[in-house]
C-alpha cells in the first residue's frame, strides 16, 4: 500500500488534481461555468458507478434523485430562507431516502424489470411530482426557485472560479470516500452480493440491507450533484432533471465503463468538452449526431467493458511490454492490477 509505486501514483494524482484546479484560473467565466458542469456530471456518473459498477443494479432515474437534492435545496433556501449549509444535508438526506424507497421494490427485480421500474420513477418525478400544481411547495410551481450561492468560511462562492473550486473539492472528497469503500469491506461485500446473492446470505450478509445501502449511497451522491447544480445555475426548474438526462447519463457511464471510478471524471470531461471540440469539425450538423450514435454502438459492441477500463488495460500491457526488455519492474505489477 505504501511502496514507491503507490507513492508515485499518489504524486501523479495530486499533480493532475492541482492542474485541473489551476487551469480554469486562466479561462473565461463562461468556460468556468462549463467546468463546474463537468464536475457535477462527474459526480452523477460516480453515482452510477456505485449502483451499477458495484452491485450490478441498473438505474434510469439518477436525475430524479438529483432533482430531490436540487428541489429540496431550492425550496428550503428560496422558499424558507434557509442557509445553503443547512439545506444541503437535508437535500442529500431526501435523495438518500428516495433511493432507499426505490431500492425496496428493486430488491425483487433485476435487469430489464428493474430498468422499467426506474423509468417509471423518473416519469413519475417528471410528469407528476415536479409539474406545476402537484406540490408547489416542493417544485416551486410556475416560478422556479432561485437559490443564491453561499459563502464558505467568509469567502463568497458567487464567483465562477470560487464555485468551480468548491464543486471540485466536493468531487474529490466523494471520489476518495467511494474509493475507500471500494477497496475495503464494502467493495468486497457488494461484489460478493453481485456474484451470488445465495452464497452471500448463507455466509451471514444481510443482502437486503447492503443493496438498499448501495441505492441510498448512489441516490445521495446524485442528490448532492443536484444540489450543486441548483446553486451553480441559480435556478431550479424541472427541465434540468428530466428522464432523458438520466438515460444519457447511464449511457455515458456505460460507454466509459461503470466498473471504474475513473470513469466519473472522464465522463464529465467528455460530456462538457466533447461537443465543444467536435464543433470545430466541418460535418453537416444533420449527420453529425448520427455519426456519434453509430460510433457509440460500435464501441459498445467492440469494447463492452468501457473506454476507461480498456485504456487502463492497454496501458498496463504497454508498460509490461516496455519493462519486459529491462526486467520486471515492481511498479508494473501495481499498474497491472
Amino acid at each position: 500500500m505504501s511502496g514507491p509505486a503507490s507513492r508515485n501514483r499518489r504524486l501523479g494524482l495530486a499533480a493532475v488534481v492541482a492542474a485541473v484546479a489551476l487551469l480554469p484560473a486562466f479561462e473565461s467565466d463562461f468556460q468556468r461555468g462549463l467546468d463546474s458542469d463537468a464536475v457535477i456530471i462527474a459526480l452523477l456518473v460516480l453515482s452510477v458507478v456505485v449502483l451499477t459498477g458495484f452491485v450490478g443494479q441498473i438505474s434510469f432515474c439518477q436525475y430524479s434523485f438529483a432533482a430531490m437534492g436540487a428541489f429540496t435545496v431550492g425550496a428550503l433556501m428560496d422558499g424558507h430562507g434557509w442557509s445553503f449549509w443547512l439545506a444541503l444535508p437535508v437535500g442529500v438526506a431526501v435523495a438518500v431516502l428516495a433511493g432507499v424507497l426505490v431500492g425496496i421494490p428493486a430488491l425483487r427485480l433485476s435487469g430489464l424489470l428493474l430498468a422499467v421500474l426506474t423509468v417509471a420513477v423518473a416519469l413519475f418525478t417528471d410528469r407528476f411530482l415536479l409539474v406545476t400544481g402537484t406540490w408547489d411547495g416542493f417544485s416551486g410551481g410556475a416560478v422556479p426557485w432561485h437559490p443564491s450561492r453561499p459563502s464558505l468560511l467568509g469567502a463568497p462562492l458567487a464567483g465562477s472560479y470560487a464555485y468551480y473550486l468548491f464543486a471540485l473539492a466536493i468531487l474529490c472528497v466523494a471520489v476518495l470516500l467511494v474509493w475507500n469503500l471500494r477497496r475495503g469491506r464494502a467493495g468486497r461485500v457488494l461484489r460478493a452480493v453481485r456474484d451470488s446473492e445465495l452464497a452471500a446470505a448463507t455466509v451471514g450478509l444481510d443482502v437486503t440491507a447492503w443493496k438498499l445501502a448501495a441505492f441510498g449511497l448512489s441516490a445521495g451522491i446524485a442528490g448532492l450533484a443536484g444540489a450543486l447544480l441548483a446553486v451553480r445555475i441559480g435556478s431550479v426548474s424541472p427541465g434540468s432533471y428530466d428522464f432523458l438526462h438520466s438515460v444519457q447519463l447511464t449511457a455515458l457511464a456505460t460507454v466509459m465503463g461503470v466498473s471504474a471510478i475513473a470513469a466519473a471524471p472522464a465522463a464529465g470531461i467528455a460530456t462538457v468538452f466533447g461537443p465543444e471540440l467536435l464543433s470545430g469539425i466541418a460535418v453537416s450538423s444533420t449527420w453529425f449526431p448520427l455519426l456519434i450514435g453509430a460510433t457509440l454502438i460500435l464501441q459498445l459492441v467492440l469494447v463492452p467493458e468501457g473506454a476507461v477500463v480498456r485504456t487502463r488495460h492497454d496501458m498496463a500491457r504497454l508498460a509490461r511490454l516496455v519493462s519486459g526488455r529491462r526486467g520486471r519492474d515492481p511498479a508494473v505489477a501495481e499498474v497491472a492490477r
Binding site: A186, D195, L198, V203
Partner: protein, 256 residues
C-alpha cells in the same frame, strides 16, 4: 451427548413433488452425520430448509435448542450454521482470499462510514479478516491460490475454497452438500482427511451429503438415509451398509 440440530417432522412440497415427507432426525454436537439417498431424495431440500433458503411447509427445525422458524438465512449463518453448495456458489470475481474474508466482513459491527473514512477500527477489522482468511487457507493447504479469482480455479480447488469460506464463519454446524462431487479418488481421500482435521481442530459438527460411499462410510459417525422425501433408515455406517431397505432403495446390487 447433546443435540445440536433437531429435525422434527419436516415436510416440503413444490408443485406436485413431495420433496420432504415428515422427516425427523437429529445431529449430535461434535459428530459427523451422513445423509445419503438417490438423486431427488430430498437431501438438498433439507439443507435449504436448515439454512433458511427454503421455508418448511410443516414441522420444526431446532438448532441449539432454538426454533429456527422464520429466521432469515443471514441470521442463521450468524448463529453458526454454514454450508457449501453442490452446484458451486463461489464469489467468482473475488479472489480466493477475498472469498474467505467476506464471512468475517459480515460479522463486523462497523458502519459504511467507518470504511469510507478508513477509521482505525475499519483497518483493524480489515486486518483481522485478512489474517483469519490466510490462516484458513494455510490450514486447508491452498495458500498458494490466495490471489486468484474463485471462478478461475479447477473444480477440486473451488470445492476446497468453498469449504474454507464456510469455515471462515467459525461455524458450529457445517452443512456439506456433495463436497466430493467432481473430485477424483485421490482428492476424495484428501477431503476425508481434511474433514477429520476440521473436527479435531475446531470441534465442528457436520452434516454431510454425498454419493461417494467410501467418503461417507469413512468419515461419518452415523448415517441417515432418505428416499422419496422420507427417512427410511438411520444408524452407524456398518449397520446402514447391511440394512436391506437401504440396499434395495439406494445401494442396489453394486455396493452390497
Amino acid at each position: 451427548m447433546t443435540v445440536l440440530l433437531q429435525i422434527d417432522g419436516v415436510s416440503k412440497r413444490y408443485g406436485g413433488v413431495q420433496a420432504l415427507n415428515d422427516v425427523s432426525f437429529r445431529v449430535d454436537r461434535g459428530r459427523i452425520k451422513g445423509m445419503i439417498g438417490p438423486n431427488g431424495a430430498g437431501k438438498t431440500s433439507l439443507f435449504n430448509c436448515v439454512c433458511g433458503v427454503l421455508r418448511v411447509d410443516s414441522g420444526h427445525i431446532r438448532y441449539a435448542g432454538r426454533d429456527l422458524h422464520g429466521l432469515a438465512p443471514h441470521r442463521r449463518a450468524r448463529l453458526g450454521i454454514a454450508r457449501t453448495f453442490q452446484t458451486l456458489e463461489l464469489f467468482r470475481e473475488l479472489t480466493v482470499l477475498e472469498n474467505l474474508m467476506v464471512p468475517v466482513d459480515a460479522e463486523a459491527r462497523r458502519g459504511m462510514l467507518a470504511d469510507a473514512l478508513r477509521l482505525p477500527r475499519a483497518r483493524f477489522e480489515e486486518n483481522r479478516a485478512g489474517e483469519r482468511a490466510r490462516a484458513l487457507l494455510h490450514f486447508l493447504g491452498i495458500a498458494e491460490v490466495a490471489g486468484i479469482p474463485g471462478g478461475d480455479l479447477a473444480i477440486g480447488i473451488q470445492r476446497r475454497v468453498e469449504l474454507g469460506r464456510a469455515l471462515a464463519l467459525r461455524p458450529t454446524l457445517l452443512l456439506l452438500d456433495e463436497p466430493a462431487a467432481g473430485l477424483d479418488s485421490r482428492e476424495t481421500a484428501e477431503l476425508a482427511g481434511v474433514l477429520s482435521r476440521i473436527r479435531e481442530r475446531f470441534g465442528t459438527t457436520m452434516l454431510l451429503v454425498d454419493h461417494d460411499m467410501s467418503l461417507v462410510m469413512r468419515v461419518c459417525d452415523d448415517i441417515a438415509v432418505l428416499d422419496y422425501g422420507r427417512l427410511i433408515a438411520e444408524g452407524p455406517p456398518e449397520r446402514i451398509r447391511e440394512d436391506p431397505t437401504v440396499v434395495r432403495a439406494y445401494l442396489g446390487g453394486s455396493a452390497a
